[in-house]
Symmetry: C2
Subunit: 199 residues, 2 copies
């Protein structure tokens, strides 16, 4: 970098990141229906014409913010034991759902999925990308002989997460470490029994 | 009944049922935030002062409607085999979530739970009552030696339902019979492995 040189790409990237972060934060705070390009621009600290130049509608903004979130890497445990790995993953899901921002984002996504088929499609892509990241955990367990050949990593992970989302969204029960450990143990028992192996 | 006699109790009970049904329907159609005593009265075909005389706020109305729904009896399968019983229950959960009204009611409850701690408390009572109804299925399976002594019926049932709610609310995946059967098989595998037995 030469001193004093302008980095339009760098600034554009920073603006994009600020707008996408603001989109998720607004979504969490207000819910999809009450979010607008104006409030997102205000939160991101940019002029609304800057946002409109790139994204015409709030739906496009939400879609891109979700895609960007899906591409973020998450930490994949590799303890050499599927039992420990799944428990670590369940604890990570718990930490997200138990945090104020995480819970708000999940609730906003649930509402947004309902209100727009296009958002629903991107939510499915988001989960596919997220689930693909954890595939190695199950593959390594199969290679070690800890899980049946052909066990679906995506199903194992969804079953690990579902009871914790259920506590947050449906039964309004507290999100405890014991609940995370139980969710991990249940997913492991089902995987071992061949429930996630296509017949 | 003497001809021409007035049955105030009967009419009151009918009005109450109409108002509570209208409350759940409005909740499903509009969501908790957009429901009002006025729209509920209109839907129930009664004057709003009739509603206000009995319920001061929409929150009280929603609470009573949920309590009444929780008290409704559901059909409890008794095939003599825990595998069949759980599959039948999962198919029943599926039928509710796959119906337009059922899905709308669940989404409305999820939103209402978020907006009011009192609604959240009643939602917990609702689930406790619902789960208590299915206790005999697990108790009979324990008596037949199909499940470990001390298996929690409530946990078994929540784990049976959670993957189906997850498809509806979180991952936006289709609600298929194969998904219901898999949810039943996973809950059974976890129950058999002792995951739902307090240690």
């Amino acid at each position: 970098m030469r001193p004093g040189s302008i980095r339009p790409g760098g600034r554009t990237a920073r603006t994009r990141a600020a707008v996408l972060d603001a989109t998720l934060a607004e979504l969490a705070d207000r819910g999809y229906e009450h979010v607008s390009v104006e409030t997102i621009a205000l939160r991101a600290g940019v002029h609304k014409t800057t946002v409109y130049r790139r994204w015409r509608t709030k739906e496009q903004l939400v879609l891109e913010a979700l895609r960007a979130a899906a591409e973020r890497r998450i930490e994949i445990p590799d303890s050499g034991d599927i039992d420990h790995d799944l428990r670590a993953l369940a604890r990570a899901v718990l930490a997200t759902l138990a945090s104020r921002d995480g819970a708000a984002a999940v609730r906003a996504l649930v509402a947004a999925t309902q209100s727009s088929p296009q958002v629903a499609r991107v939510v499915r892509q988001f989960w596919a990308a997220r689930l693909a990241q954890v595939t190695p955990i199950v593959q390594r367990a199969i290679a070690r002989g800890q899980l049946p050949e052909g066990t679906s990593a995506a199903e194992t992970m969804k079953y690990l997460a579902a009871p914790l989302f259920h506590r947050l969204l449906v039964t309004a029960e507290p999100l405890t470490e014991a609940a995370a450990d139980q969710a991990a143990a249940a997913a492991l028992a089902a995987a071992r029994a061949g429930v996630f192996t296509p017949t």
